[in-house]
Symmetry: C2
Subunit: 359 residues, 2 copies
């Protein structure tokens, strides 16, 4: 009946014959209000079609938006390309939602539109999930907002939030490959900054130098297992196409490897795509290992030998860390204890993409 638009707390308070502060407390519950007073306020609110304090007013007055930004390119790819980031996003979103925070998706800053967006968006904290492009401008900007921030994919802030023993996992995986009798083994590892470092053959040391810390740990595991690669390829993107490029280069060698160890499932998938196209069978003619254990289409029934990274769980862990940072900030004590990072287990999954060589 009543005009439902733009009913304010002030109007409700007036109608109920109480002060704005009292009406406010009825809704927030931050102060005890006499039952009958509260009832009067609720009644007036209902009659006027008032559905609770405007999130906007509350945000300005309290300085808290209940919003966390997630800067990512994950959705800007074919879902098939980066399912791990999607899973992480899922975990982040669930944990934030549970804690009463909405998750705002924003792309990295790459042009005027994304720059304007970054400036226009409100948030209390931020997580950046893929630093494939645009991070040169995005990172300093996020820094300038002076809010709690966790950057994943090998940044220090990730290391402080979640512990992953990549090396232990890849060591086990590589050890089993060696036990299967492989001697000509190649490594395909990835870096992020494709502009400076495109796909291409390289040396182990150069790859190690350019790789993010998590990839380094994976390479460490290969070394610890005793792998002496006959060739090393640098994947410039975390995308299937870089895996194809790796296969093309590696299979052209005079004595091609019998097994390629990768640092991401998407690369293993790209390698399989290419190998099949040139008529090779997996794993009989070429073995391959991955990392992540994501669901990928078009593998034709092959189950990858890989390391399981539970993205959803990882997202949850990271979210909990950010929530604690937010809390610490609210306490006004930058030095509040954040506690140790949680550990994400990384079990090996032994599929059927590695052949056991008999001689």
């Amino acid at each position: 009946m009543a005009e439902h638009r733009h009913v304010t707390l002030a109007a409700v308070a007036k109608a109920a014959g109480v002060a704005k502060s009292t009406a406010s407390h009825v809704f927030t519950g931050k102060r005890v209000v006499a039952p009958e007073t509260a009832e009067r306020v609720r009644h007036a609110a209902a009659a006027m079609g008032y559905t609770g304090p405007s999130a906007l007013g509350r945000a300005l007055a309290s300085g808290r938006t209940q919003l966390i930004a997630v800067v990512t390119h994950a959705l800007l790819e074919d879902p098939d390309t980066d399912p791990l980031s999607l899973a992480i996003l899922d975990g982040l979103q669930r944990e934030f939602a549970q804690a009463g925070y909405g998750t705002v998706l924003i792309p990295p800053i790459t042009d005027d539109a994304s720059r304007d967006l970054a400036h226009a968006v409100l948030y209390d904290g931020v997580v950046s999930v893929r630093r494939m492009v645009g991070f040169e401008e995005t990172n300093p900007y996020l820094e300038s907002r002076h809010v709690p921030w966790i950057a994943l994919d090998g940044y220090m802030t990730e290391e402080a939030a979640v512990v992953m023993d990549d090396a232990k996992a890849t060591e086990e995986l590589a050890r089993r490959v060696l036990e299967a009798g492989h001697e000509r083994i190649a490594i395909a590892g990835y870096t992020f900054s494709v502009e400076e470092l495109p796909d291409g053959l390289t040396t182990f040391d150069e790859l190690y130098e350019a790789a993010p810390t998590n990839v380094r740990r994976r390479l460490d595991g290969f070394v610890r297992a005793g792998v002496e690669p006959v060739a090393v390829f640098r994947c410039g993107t975390v995308a299937r196409s870089s895996g194809e490029a790796a296969a093309r280069a590696l299979l052209e060698m005079e004595e091609p490897p019998t097994c390629i160890l990768t640092t991401a499932d998407v690369h293993a998938a790209g390698i399989i795509d290419y190998a099949r196209r040139v008529g090779l069978r997996i794993p009989e003619d070429l073995s391959v290992t991955g990392f992540d254990a994501v669901t990928l289409g078009g593998l034709g029934g092959i189950e990858l030998c890989t390391v399981v990274q539970d993205g959803m769980q990882k997202g949850r862990i990271v979210a909990r860390r950010l929530l604690r940072m937010l809390e610490a900030e609210r306490e006004g004590r930058g030095g509040l204890e954040l506690g140790d990072p949680e550990e994400l287990p990384l079990p090996v999954r032994w599929g059927d993409s590695v052949a056991v060589l008999t001689r």
Copy 2:
């Protein structure tokens, strides 16, 4: 050098010796400011570490948050379960970002946490993507916020935003199945409200009655092609498990169908899972068709005969519609022309999941 926290427009204006309004206009560009005045303001801002007007202040003053909420369960499932919603989300997010809007993810209201979140979050408009659970409370709430809202999955607002000729596509698909010689054909269609209508055998008319409008159109296509189903199964969820349930029931029949027509790829995948498990070959022993053409794992090299629904494109179309609604609202004219909905083409993709029967 300077203390970087909590620098306000007012402080910058004072330092530059201009009025707040002038400083504001330097940043928004909504009014012409003398070049040297602007320079003075920018200089002061830089010196004080001011990175532009607070999104919060701007939002309160202008009443616009530059945020669009997307209510969805898509991320709350295994990415493998609902890749179409993910693709739609992708399209929404891209289009919104381009228009300067951030995308806020919130879950449907199912408990106190999600209710609080829904109330706390700020947004100028909203799109709801999956109405699987919690919509009984979520929908009225979204309604009560009085902002432009598009609900997908067979609601009227979707129909007004995007035109899809599902019937034409499924008619073509079913026609080809009939041409392949199939006579014992079953239909597995889906509904949303699993609480009231669980998985189970039903009649065509009952399914039709309970189905959302888009599923109805798909069923229309089957009828138009001349299909006379020997059995009809109702999938109570849009998940692989409901497909398995369908296969279990349908294959138990005395004279089981040679082909099952579904209204979603995930159901086709579930059917394949089950059929394989009981030792049937696809398509030799059982043919199946889908709808959506999403990437699904574990299909073992089978390419589904299905209808291609480009989720990303659909998301973009829906986003553009919402943006137009927002604009219309801003103009203060509820009656502003929104124009016709855009059409999303639905091509048939003929894979290898339907056997050609020779007799």
